[in-house]
Symmetry: C2
Amino acid sequence: MEAIKSFDQLRTQLKNSGERVRVAVVWAHDGHTPEAVRRAVSDGFATAIFVGHREETLAAVNLTAEMEHLSFVNADSPEEASAAAVALVREGKADVIMKGLVNTDVLLRAVLNKQTGILPYLDEEKTKRAVLTHIAVVDIPRLKRLLFITDAAVIPNPTVEQRAAQIRYASHLCHCFGIEQPRIAMLHCTEKTSEKFPITLDYAALKERAEAGEFGDILLDGPLDLLCSLSPEGLADKHLESKLEGKADVLMFSDIEMGNGVYKSFTLFADALIAGMLFGPQCPVVLTSRGDSIDAKFCSLCAAIAVSKR
Amino acid sequence: MEAIKSFDQLRTQLKNSGERVRVAVVWAHDGHTPEAVRRAVSDGFATAIFVGHREETLAAVNLTAEMEHLSFVNADSPEEASAAAVALVREGKADVIMKGLVNTDVLLRAVLNKQTGILPYLDEEKTKRAVLTHIAVVDIPRLKRLLFITDAAVIPNPTVEQRAAQIRYASHLCHCFGIEQPRIAMLHCTEKTSEKFPITLDYAALKERAEAGEFGDILLDGPLDLLCSLSPEGLADKHLESKLEGKADVLMFSDIEMGNGVYKSFTLFADALIAGMLFGPQCPVVLTSRGDSIDAKFCSLCAAIAVSKR
């Protein structure tokens, strides 16, 4: 499989696959969400289950109930819709969850519910659960390839084990996009490892674990700043060497502040289309924002569908 | 005075002023620094004092010793050159310091030296010194105005008092650029004030002090994310209001990680020209990087000269 380098390529590949993935759409009572879903349905790679008021959803866009590959599950509130969508995944009836006009907190509560949720336990005693984190796929036209960034939205200051999970999730995501040996940059404001910044010691420990083979076939380096991660020239200017060669696929941020700042500057100044989703739950959960365009919501759905197919 | 909206405008204004500012250039043995300085000298707004090896500096570019408004102070090492440049400022013989091919640490040691340095004491007992911080002036073509950002390089996690100093310095800098009522955004990954993120409580305290008039005629708001700081549309999409109206002049970063990440993404993806300098010392200290272009170094020098003239 060739690496997918843009959302356009991703769409084409999903269209050509001829397979549909079942998407549970939670409370799609806004204009953009059902329109984005409709596009995936008519492109032939999604089946939609709208969980919410049937009439309000139908009113939200020009959906006609006759359209094939659409179904409805009734729910009277965003809370009920969230729980119902999660239940569909548990029952094996949905492969992806997509957020509509519901607060992230409400959807997260349903996902995380200890009895009825979909964040797996890692041990039989049920004391330890999978790490929940946010990864976004970024299409920046001038970069001519996709970037995968984590975490701009959920974990403020990741621990070493949360970072290890981010490495595993991001590698898996890269594989879904045809990148066989993901290049993962652990970001920081300098390239120095020092006790003054404890995360740089965490980075050193993770590099050792990567070299011992724990994360499979990846290239992991850090601390690196954004320039040294993404620009071969930036790396050369600083007279530094990195096994990533300034061509990182994945950016692991030092903290949520850096993540959010870089994410927003991609949106504002790099003409980026960004597809965000949650990793950790049994299935990808598409988290879009109220202000996202139909294009952004559609790309987010495409990315989640690509992940769910592997 | 009309607000200056680009480095081109700044250059024109400095040229038209007909006044020269005295610049002590530390160890300018690379190609780019003396060339940037030469440009300011021939534009008529700088007098250069090169502190270093006279012959090596002359060799570094096509400087001819006959050129007016150039002088040389001999020094045998970067350490000696740094100390000599700082001494020139103390003696009232230089108005700006510019870093050449010397490590930032070395120059900083000379600036910060308790006996011979130029970071003022704030009390007679000499127990408290002025806050040393980094502010950069950013020219992003598509923004059509200048941004002032702090701190992407020096203070990892500013305290409230360090932030108060950043507000004062940034306001002064804005005034130097003709912005009468600076709009200052205190950045964070969300717009919520909560104990979960202690800096948001600091922001609330600073807003109260601003409203009490401590910082003069400024508009201060936060926590705001980058989008809500710089985009009226981004603010409207989130159904939020801010007295900055999505038109911030100054971005105060939550931490050095966010600062550095946003700074580098401006460089990589927004075609930004960025001029960085230190605030706190008796005079502006131009801190450029090894990899900076002649243009970037020239703009940095112009910005520092603009500050030193007020």
